[in-house]
Symmetry: C2
Subunit: 489 residues, 2 copies
């Protein structure tokens, strides 16, 4: 449907009153870079992209869009993997890239005040001279922005010990769709009133636009050790993960890869991984020297007890970096095995790891599609990578169905359909599996409390009841699929 | 105003359809025990108290009250200190005391599933045989219930290291005022959708009624050490706290008491406190042996650097218990110094500790009222105890104004008006200092999303804009008191 040209003209007129011309993009070639985020399978060209430089401009833009009923999709660095920043064809993209200043580093209070367009890694780089860092470290940390991290409640390898974004943000400043300016949270650990800070974190740009962030900084650990263990049996590796956590040890990172992932990563990154192992664990321990030494010896004992075939301690920082390089390149490495891959992101209680791996193997046989598994094992966050060839008729659809089955399985064992990548555009249907209609109605009521006309990032993250009803999946409750037509695992 | 007798009759008729007679209290003498919580200064007798035993009964009760427009105040153990469970004279109290079962302890996933009336300490007692405990430990933990802890987002001495209630709850089951049953959260670390788990936690019974809680359990540390340091100067003690945290050490507890509090506690509890010290710090370190040893030596060095006059390490578990007994009895101990005391609860960024203490001393002179200070120093949570005599004309009002000034000071330096006691009935006016009208409007919009007729614990936690306007304090923004009539510090 063609957008009303008069309305578009009114919008552009108002935007031109608010912003200098170089902050408004409308030419086709200027809009193309904004048509998708990291989930490149879906693309839409917005009416315009605006690149404001002041909070007052953002307030004026949202007021204008609210009065004209124009959707607003906020965008950070565009590295998201679930299409959260996919534009609305009848709306604008509000890019925060010019809000790229670190405003303050407070070494007494261990905080940094930053604009939302600041890159995640840039905070740690700026804090490094004070012996501090910003803990959440998504794989995309060299590029992703802190505003996007807040919108997606991003995690990373180190969130097992240091928490997700929500645990590392103290205060945000937000502009609402009505142009109101809100300060949410404080410089201390808690504030009264409803916890709007947690509510906004992970809300995927649907409740407000984050225009400033006060993050916690963490003191850099004195010592870091990385252990790699190889296992002839995947189940033993899964059990070792649960045993480490149950022993009261909280590693800085605890990652697992299965054989296809090991082989792909080794071929790509030459990380000295044992290519015949059924699974490897990478366990990073950090803290003060005596603590790390004692924890490492305990972890070794647990790994031996669970039949690790080899345990290797990285002896130099170069060797540690090489072990991690294999893990961090696992996605592109797997990408070389197959023309296309579909990266899933679900969570499960750790104790179900072995069971879920077996079911994923069964699905792989059933769909005739290979899968490589890479996990944040310590917190039960799975990343199965489904290999397919989009040029073969029907394989994309098979891969998507395979992925949906994995997520439904995660829900069934008490987990969830996303650990850290968000719902965005991609996982709307899986939300119908995760939540019953009463929960979805509550989400919509919360949305309306902030955005009555549903103009902020519309159509993302929370499916309509109608969509779920059409999927016939409204009867999933407490992880039990009670609808007779749905698969049971 | 007399309550409509016909409406009351209809309410009781409906309640009798739902509950056996012994679960409905209406006699004056049966209602009296419910007329206040731990904040005894305010009392109201409700129309009735109901004590359901099943979730279905709770759903039926809220549906009945919603249709009759009758307020519902949920109540746990009634130990709250801000009047959060103060009844509504035209409503019912819904007591959760009969939901007192521990349903499951999962030693693989390190969780406990409990009913809301289970006492905080009972969870740790039940988990003890597995080497586990439930970390948040409010002073009232022997009596307070986990449902109340969720409602107030309770903290405690150990929340510096282990987090508040919100960081230790994975899932809750909730009944809404419309009788809907919601499962919020999951068995894993994160779920998609808006973070309703954090939103409900600390919402003081105003968004829904918690009917089941899945809490995280923590592995008991192998070793615990407690250090007590005495300081001739309060500022040095405050700086030592900031220096310990800045060194990357996260004690299990880090508490501070000033001279009046030390003297009172020592007289009461015989804890071997140095009664001439200007301040003492209690620092608890826990973990594996080597880690605790090394941390203790670092803490000692920091304490010495900040001019501690004595540093004492408790050598036995009996001695550790005695040091803590002094701290834990500080409130009743101070209570013996004066006919009445008013316990405040505010937070500040740690770096402002010395400044805030000086201002509190100035207020004490100005109002002619003594004050004793007890802090969760590590996370900047102050508990000034203002001493007064309610029988002396005007002293209660002076104490309240003194308290309000302290809270306004907390807000001004970037902190908040409550760390862990909640807003309840007591701190409604201080909320007008903490928040601007846009924030309060957002809170009310969230409330209406869950409870359109405002029947759940009405009149608590979030003041009306009208109330704040009458107080003339609507212009406090970003900690700046911009209203010309208001005090500036």
């Amino acid at each position: 449907m063609e957008f009303d040209p008069n309305l578009k003209a009114r919008l552009l007129f108002q935007l031109n009153e608010i912003l200098p011309a170089e902050c408004i993009l409308t030419a086709e070639e200027d809009l193309r870079p904004y048509e998708c985020d990291g989930l490149t399978a879906y693309r839409r060209v917005p009416l315009a992209v605006v690149l404001p430089t002041t909070i007052e401009q953002i307030q004026a833009i949202t007021r204008a869009c609210n009065s004209l009923n124009i959707p607003v999709v906020a965008r950070g660095a565009g590295t998201g993997l679930s299409g959260g920043a996919l534009p609305d064809a009848n709306g604008i993209v509000l890019g925060l890239s010019r809000f790229n200043q670190i405003l303050d580093i407070d070494t007494d209070n261990l905080t940094a005040r930053v604009q939302p367009g600041v890159r995640n890694l840039a905070i740690s780089q700026a804090a490094d001279q004070y012996g501090l860092f910003y803990a959440p470290d998504p794989s995309s940390q060299i590029a992703c922005s802190i505003g996007g991290n807040v919108a997606e409640n991003s995690g990373g390898v180190h969130c097992l010990k240091y928490g997700l974004t929500v645990h590392n943000v103290l205060q945000i400043k937000v502009v609402t769709i009505e142009g109101e300016f809100l300060t949410i949270g404080s410089e201390t650990f808690d504030v009264p009133g409803y916890d709007l800070l947690a509510l906004m974190t992970g809300s995927e740009g649907m409740l407000g636009i984050v225009v400033e962030v006060l993050v916690k900084l963490t003191v850099k650990p004195e010592t870091v050790q990385v252990l790699m263990a190889a296992f002839p049996d995947v189940t033993d590796a899964g059990d070792a993960v649960a045993a480490i956590i149950s022993a009261g040890i909280i590693p800085a990172g605890l990652e697992m890869m299965d054989n296809p992932a090991i082989r792909a990563a080794e071929a790509f990154a030459k990380a000295d991984y044992p290519v015949d192992a059924a699974a490897i664990l990478l366990c990073e321990l950090d803290g003060i020297e005596a603590e790390v030494e004692e924890q490492a010896s305990r972890v070794r004992a647990i790994l031996n007890l669970h039949r690790a075939s080899t345990i290797h301690l990285a002896k130099t920082s170069g060797e540690r970096a090489r072990l991690w390089a294999g893990r961090k390149s696992a996605f592109p490495a797997v990408g070389r095995l197959s023309p296309d891959y579909y990266c899933m992101d679900g969570t499960i209680p750790r104790k179900h790891l072995a069971h879920v791996l077996q079911k994923i193997a069964d699905f792989s046989t059933q769909y005739g599609l290979a899968v490589a598994n890479v996990f944040h094992a310590g917190d039960g966050n799975l990343h199965p990578l489904i290999l397919y060839d989009a040029n073969r008729h029907g394989e994309l659809e098979k891969a998507e169905q395979f992925g949906a089955d994995i997520l439904a399985l995660c829900v069934q064992v008490g987990g969830s359909i996303t650990g850290e990548h968000g719902v965005g555009h991609e996982k709307l249907d899986s939300m119908c599996v995760q939540f019953d209609s009463a929960s979805l109605e509550t989400f919509h009521a919360v949305k309306r409390a902030f955005d009555p006309h549903e103009l902020l990032n519309p159509g993302k993250a929370i499916p309509t009841l109608h969509r779920c009803a059409e999927l016939g999946r409204m009867h999933v409750h407490h992880g039990q699929l009670s609808h007779p037509e749905l698969p049971r695992f």
